[in-house]
Amino acid sequence: MSLNSIKVQQQDFDFAKEVDTLEENNLVDGATVTFVGRVRNNNDGCQVKHLFLEHYAGMTEKCLFDISQQARERWQLGNISVIHRYGKLALGEKIVFVGVTSKHRQDAFMAAEFIMDYLKVSAPFWKKELTEQGERWVAAKAKDSKEANKW
């Protein structure tokens, strides 16, 4: 039985616990790849104080689930877990977690990167930064579209 866990939540999560859940009772998969994205202290040269993440509740969960299903169609995967937070996030706080297990490391690496690349261009989240120069919506990056198009 493969786990497909999608969570969109305001509260923080325990990285170690999430990885334990991802890996537990699984002697088949030899490879686990995880990604954690955090609030950086600078973006486009501005000092960031905190982020506010808005999302389209319902569509985000659906979208993340669809992406993880697409990853399953492309690679041989065991368990997938995606967590994305919303609301106010302080410097250094975790924003997103992606965890993938597989029999083979290549599949796990590819799938985790694919999920992040697709999430970046298709999951309805929007970041507003509070910088020393005031509030501003973060602009989408052309680089992100390019990275999603490589798949």
């Binding site: 808005e54 999302h55 979208c63 924003i95 997103v96 999430l119 298709s122 309805p124 929007w126």
Partner: protein, 98 residues
């Protein structure tokens, strides 16, 4: 309780859609949500955008921006998508999560 129409006389039910706005778009329009009557002859996203553009300068700016994204019932679609009653349409700027 609503009265149920009986006999040969059929009550014409209004075809409505719900429209949502997110993030910078919501702020620019100062509007989170509205309801629109669906026009049987002009029922694509393209038609909705044209009709919303007429609400004022801010609206015209938003609905002529080529980067504007749109979802129907929580699935991304393009402007040719046609709509049916009770659909939920959401307009939003390019996403920036992750």
């Amino acid at each position: 309780m609503a009265k149920v129409a009986t006999g040969p006389e059929i009550k014409r039910v209004e075809q409505m859609i719900k429209v949502l706005f997110f993030a910078a778009i919501r702020e620019q329009l100062d509007c989170e949500e509205l309801e629109l009557k669906l026009n049987a002859e002009a029922n694509t996203i393209c038609d909705i955008k044209a009709s919303l553009s007429e609400k004022g300068a801010d609206w015209q700016k938003v609905f002529t921006d080529p980067t504007l994204l749109v979802a129907v019932n929580q699935t991304m679609v393009d402007d040719a998508q046609s709509l049916k009653s009770n659909d939920t349409v959401a307009f939003f700027p390019p996403v920036t999560g992750g």
